[in-house]
Subunit: 249 residues, 2 copies
Amino acid sequence: MTQTREEFEARLRQIGAERYHDKHPFHHLLHGGGCTPDQVRAWVINRYYYQHSIPMKDAAFMSRVESPDLRRAWRSRIEDHDGTDTNPGGIKRWLKLAEAVGLDPDYVASTEGVMPATKFAVDAYVRFVRDKTLLEAVAASLTELFAPKIHADRIQGLLKNYDFADDSSLSYFQNRLKEAPKDVAFGLKWVLDHADTQEKQDMAANALIFKTDVLWSQLDALHSAYVEPGRIPPGAWQPGQGMANAKAA
Amino acid sequence: MTQTREEFEARLRQIGAERYHDKHPFHHLLHGGGCTPDQVRAWVINRYYYQHSIPMKDAAFMSRVESPDLRRAWRSRIEDHDGTDTNPGGIKRWLKLAEAVGLDPDYVASTEGVMPATKFAVDAYVRFVRDKTLLEAVAASLTELFAPKIHADRIQGLLKNYDFADDSSLSYFQNRLKEAPKDVAFGLKWVLDHADTQEKQDMAANALIFKTDVLWSQLDALHSAYVEPGRIPPGAWQPGQGMANAKAA
């Protein structure tokens, strides 16, 4: 049976409550100060791949949108990440974080040390947005509903527990606190407006679940490679590689 | 054998000299004042479909670009068409032209009256950019090399021959005269830089030929439906439909 707008929104929020990656043990370790410097670096390197792919995902969405107005509303997401004349953008801010933890930003930007499992998950998201309905693509973006809390927790936890953390190195998260709410307000309204049958509500809910899987599996791969059991896959970043000082030497 | 940079650029320009749609009889008719008002309207309606698809094509390109810098350089094309806070954008300017020739802009924007042949050709271009190499995608955009001349001819021909033509209705073409040169300078340099083997030069040249086919076949369809023999395909715009005054009545 088709849910009311309120019931359906509650269902989407419940997906976050149960499955969003703020529940993953890696984040508890990271925010609580339990990560070694190398574990932080592994997170920064792998998460960069997600950052650098998000504008590709948003462009894939726009490539399927016939309405100039909807494309225009969506375009600010690409600007937020890739930057504008007045805003360096999220990807450059992420590379500031990379520098702050001692990594060579060019190494991080090369995506050379990223684990295959990270790429598979992130690439699956870009493909999902390219291939599925627009409703599913927008619904998948709604993990942003749950992001402000994790960003706030992260800023607080990193500042408290790690020397590298300051306003400059954490500027990515500070900016997302400002940017994400406008995106998600637009996306949530769009999904609630368009998911007007039970079938579409199920599709949208499943798309959001898919996206939580994309995020969760990235942390699973990270945890398994760099925390426990600590089996780094062939070709992935090894501690010591890609350090800023190695480049200077 | 791999051509020198100069030889290869000359080869690309020769493709325009032989195949660009400024050679099509429909444009001679249009620019020379030989089109009836309804033939102008059919052109405006069908060409709108191309206009409204170009940002989708550019987003499809960006969805495959891993470099934030290249994405950022490319993004201005979408802004030029979809508009920004300070620029209404090419699509809205095209709808001004639609109004000036007596059409209801909402009808034109609905793309309802567009011929299937127009859609097939334009959709093939979007798909080409989504599926082929980045080199082929950029090379296909190089018809912009030949556009300033057709825009200048068009402005002059329309102003001289048609009452609807003035600065406002022709603002689309005036703006493209400013925007296209920067895009094509970037695109041409990129193609010359990247087509560094004979195989890649052949790919790029064939991509540009493909694009001239996309443009030419749109005019063939238009000519055959609305000029000679004048067989309008089922479902396509019929003179009298979608007029601005019909809406007011």
